[in-house]
Amino acid sequence: MAFQTLLHRRWQSLLILLGVALGVAVMVSIDLANASAGRAFELSTEVITGKATHQIVPSGSGIPEEEYARLRRAGVLPLAAPIVSTYITISGQRGQAFELLGIDPFVDREFRDYWDGNSLNGQAFFDLITRPGAVMISSKLAERLSIGVGDELKIIVNGREQTVWVCGLLQPVDQLAARSLQGILLADISTAQEISGKVGYLDRIDLILPQDNAAFIEQIKLLLPPNLQIETVEARQGTIRQMAQAFQLNLSALSLLALVVGLFLIYNTMTFSVVQRRDLFGAMRCLGVTRRELFLLVSGEALIVGMAGSALGIGLGILLGKNTIGMVSQTINDLYFTTTVQAVELPVESLIKGGVIGVLATLGAALPSAMEAASVEPRLALSRSGLEKKANSALWLLAGSGVILIIVGYLLFQIPGNYLLFGFGGTLLVVVGIAALAPLFMRGFLKLLRPVTVRTFGILGGMAAGNLLNSISRTAVAVSALMVAVAVTIGISLMIDSFRFTVTQWLEQSLQSDVYISVPGFNANSSLLPIDPRVIEQVRERDDIRRIDTLRATRVVSQFGEINLSASDNPQIGEERIFKESIGSGEQITEAMRNGGAIISEPLANRLDLHTGETIELLTPSGAKVFPIAGVYYDYATSEGNVTIWREVYTRWWADDAVTAIGLRLKNGINPEETVRDIQKKLQTDQDLLVRANAALRQDVMEVFDRTFAITAALRILATMVAIIGILSTLMLLQIEKQRETGILKALGITGNELWRLVMLETGLMGLIAGLLAAPTGFVLAIILIRVINLRSFGWTILLSVNPFAFIFAVSIAVGAALLAGVVPAMRMNRLSAAEAIRYE
């Protein structure tokens, strides 16, 4: 019976279906993207970490290789495998990162067994360990690159092109291993050292320790030099993973907003379909149908639509996912970690999750209407006006609960600690709370506006406002849905604009050199790869340069785990950062750094709860060294955070004079673009370096920024689309319901033109109200996104920058969407003859 009803109300069903489908689709596509990014991370690290439980990692650059032999010969390493690994690209495969994984095959078997022993026949193994430049790749990768055993492969390492050759193919043991291996070039540790320029160093030592490992760790620690640290694998991967997860959670939350908008729509349509059938239900109750059965009938309808809509949504979600997966992984690679695995299987859990949530949400949204249906007394149902009266009194109740929701939401934000879930929960409550206020606002607004519309549009104007007022129980929900969607659009736009503005300001302040030189890396923001020392020599000899600043970026171990460290010799660093808090003037900060102080970025300060005047402890080859914090500066390069110290201090403690970035300040009147071209032409190095003028570097950074927010922008549009469909369905239903009324109007001689104007006025008013309500809501949302969500997710402060255009645009969208939604009903109305329309019932 539920099924028949749905068939009977085709349009209605179709619209709910679409609403559910779009909501589910958005959610599924984001979840797919998140899950694939997570899976790609796992697969990329799985082969690399293998079965290791712990790792010995250096603070600064590399583990001196003799330490490994020393530990081995001391007999304290139970199961251990040395690793030299470098991200590389393969010529002709630009854009994809591969990992050159250098292992010691004699001890590695306990750690990594992702390839079949048969793929290592004697000759391949022999070549791998004895011949320079020999690598093994998976048979799949060989196929993709169309190369075979014995063939050479051109790879780019640290910006230098080098040649390796394939001495054998690895046959993965299963599908999973095949995926993990597709981004790997396996080499003997000697080859890996030689190719990556890490002769004399190891990147880490993998360990497999038993469950009860405290004694082992103590024993190893006793023999470790101070700048080597033993850490669990989870702890090592955890930080970076957590950062990315904050980003992913943001996306998930946004995608849920689309579903929330969809729920409004479902609720609206279902309520409407029940209201429409009150007479029928009354009659059915007279015929002996129980409350329970009516409840089940309406729920059954919702279930069917929910299932069909979710199924459609899953399909759509997969289609959308093709884009979102690319966008999300790009961003994650830009900002968080390099993945070498690209194609992962479709995570089925995401699809199931989307389906289940879609069906449950539909059922939930239909629950009030099902209860309403069950409450119908076994007599002819209430008249419309009675119902509306009931609705009117409910408006105050609704508004009251809205206020409570907003207050609870606000209180949630006040809970101390960086709980993102409370952040999102609070946001949801505030948004829903404001939406609950919408009907009351709408009524007041219409009452105020009615005289104005009468004056402007005459009797039609009065009718339009009156119609809306009379059917507020249904129109208000549509208006709320549109309001939420538009508010989300405004909120996100304001947030992105503010963020963009903040980043631009920050770049202006902190990028003061005219020309920058660095090695292209895989993370968009900073490269940890050293520049050929000859380059610095050559640049120093130029006569168009006023000053050269050098920077060493690396990762070191602090008391909080591994963190990013920059060592700079910019004498104006104190002036060229914007400080949130500091010990004093820019000069004083620089002076403090020269004397062994550190400045830390805001995200790090927030994450680790560090402040000016406190200290951070970093492991150096000569022991743990305490750095007093001279200031906390605004920084948007990495949400993981950064510590900056004076370069001479770094060189002194870490005995490392590598440089990863060079900033050149040109003499007055010299054109940076020309200098860039000249340097590129004259530089004598086999390293492929990025030489960029200030403007070009800024542009590159902003490109990454825009890439990061591309998906957010896409989500915003999708949410609006769901809302437009909501408005469309509500209006259509409204107009269909009013067919009889329309027929009478037609019989009374209303012209087609006038009917058009009536419908358009009605919908336009709805759009306008939604838009006007959305503007302040969007503003509040933007503030929440900036002050709560971003601060908690990424730890950075965004300066609010309000672009009035965002509001105008949003209101226009609301009105435009509403008008657009009126077109079909208006056309339908016009097509019907008066007689037909009246006969409808």
Binding site: E65, R109, N118, L120, N121, F126, T130, P132, S190, E194
Partner: protein, 388 residues
């Protein structure tokens, strides 16, 4: 005199180890079906140095490795007892094999570059508890992980398994596995014994088919053995062999029985028989008597007999090994019975063989003698050629 069999053995062990390494890369369940089909024929052809004439040994330099020869090993075995007479046997062997002939080696920037591979076996026999502990290690002979040097003092090591010279005639030997630890001090009582013709030991008619072979046949030993966390102060005698060569042997040999026997009257015997496919003993089998002053007497294969007087079937591999021998060398009135201290001293590592502590009793030159020694039995656990 030489231990011909060892050339075969080391070569095969290396192939086995490498095969084992390859197999271990596979999932465990694949091991069974990959064993036969594995192609492990390396292109290690090349011009290695060969033993063609007696050489002038210089110590301590020549205690170290001779990398231009393809194969080399340092072989330590010993019989030890606690003050209360509880007996233990031990074996620590470090093998070296060159993967690249000298002309194919060149200077590479990385210290990890592989030219040599080292393999070590470590076993302890706990006679009282009838237990046998065996373990092995493999490492590249670079990056400080494994090696053997004679100067400034002798040391041979594979990670934390090592023998280090600590004084003129004193050495420290240590090795550690999951269940057993060994830490011993060895004092050489007789000096270096040169096997064969001043250390040049022929193995076949062909020129260069020979090895350089030296031994320390009587090393006074004391130190500590730890088994399953329990430590014992022990004393006793050890035996060391150091041999290097570049020779491949004939294909008709299936295995060998090798004996190092230390008598309580300050004499030692080294003896081996090489078993051929047809069950006969190869004519290169030989025996050597070492006198108290270090001088040696050699006996050709027709001057001695070895008769089996017992058998033991391994419950683990099903292999049947001889477990008791009667040895006769009429020229010196030697008549000995040799018995394993415990039957199960089978090493089931990447290569299966039996190497264990034995006791002996009998007559030498009309005098009653007792003593202990080590016996090595190969080719019983598996048909080697069948595996390749």
């Amino acid at each position: 005199m030489n231990r011909i069999g060892h050339f075969w053995k080391v070569f095969l062990i290396f192939l086995m180890i490498l095969a084992g390494w390859g197999l271990a890369f596979a999932k465990r369940e694949n091991v069974g079906d990959s064993q036969t089909g594995l192609d492990l024929t390396f292109d290690v052809e090349g011009n290695f140095a060969r033993a063609e004439a007696p050489m002038e040994f210089q110590f301590p330099r020549d205690f170290g490795s001779h990398d231009d020869f393809q194969t080399e090993w340092w072989y330590y075995t010993g019989n030890l007892e606690t003050e209360r007479g509880r007996r233990f046997g031990y074996q620590l062997t470090i093998f070296r094999r060159a993967l690249l002939p000298p002309e194919k080696r060149f200077e590479r920037p990385s210290e990890w570059a592989v030219e040599q591979v080292y393999l070590a076996h470590f076993a302890i026999t706990d006679v009282q508890n009838d237990r046998f502990y065996a373990d092995e290690k493999l490492a590249r002979g670079s990056a400080g992980l494994a090696g053997a040097v004679g100067q400034p003092y002798f040391q041979v090591w594979l990670e934390d398994w090592r023998v280090v010279q600590i004084d003129e005639n004193r050495f420290q030997l240590s090795a550690k596995s999951d269940r057993a630890d060994l830490d011993l001090f060895l004092t050489d009582l007789k000096g270096v014994v040169f096997q064969g013709e001043h250390g040049f030991s022929r193995k076949g008619e062909e020129t260069g088919n020979a090895s350089y072979y030296i031994s320390q046949t009587r090393l006074l030993t004391e130190g500590k053995i730890t088994i399953e966390g329990q430590s014992f102060d022990v004393k006793g005698l050890s035996w060391m062999d150091h041999e290097f060569s570049t020779s491949a042997l004939g294909e008709d040999q299936v295995g060998w029985d090798w004996f190092s026997l230390q008598f309580d009257n300050n004499h030692e015997i080294m003896l081996f028989t090489l078993r051929k496919e047809d069950g006969t003993i190869d004519r290169f089998s030989t025996a050597t008597l070492i006198l108290p002053d270090g001088r040696t007497h050699h006996f050709a294969n027709d001057e001695f007999t070895v008769t089996r007087i017992g058998e033991w079937k391994s419950p683990e591999t099903g292999a049947v090994y001889p477990a008791g021998w009667r040895i006769n060398i009429p020229a010196i009135s030697l008549d000995l019975e040799v018995h394993p201290l415990i039957p199960n001293q089978e090493l089931v590592l990447s290569y299966i063989y039996w190497e264990g502590a034995v006791s002996l009793r009998g007559q030498l030159g009309g005098e009653e003698v007792n003593g202990y020694g080590y016996v090595e039995l190969t080719g019983y656990g598996q048909s080697m050629r069948g595996r390749f």
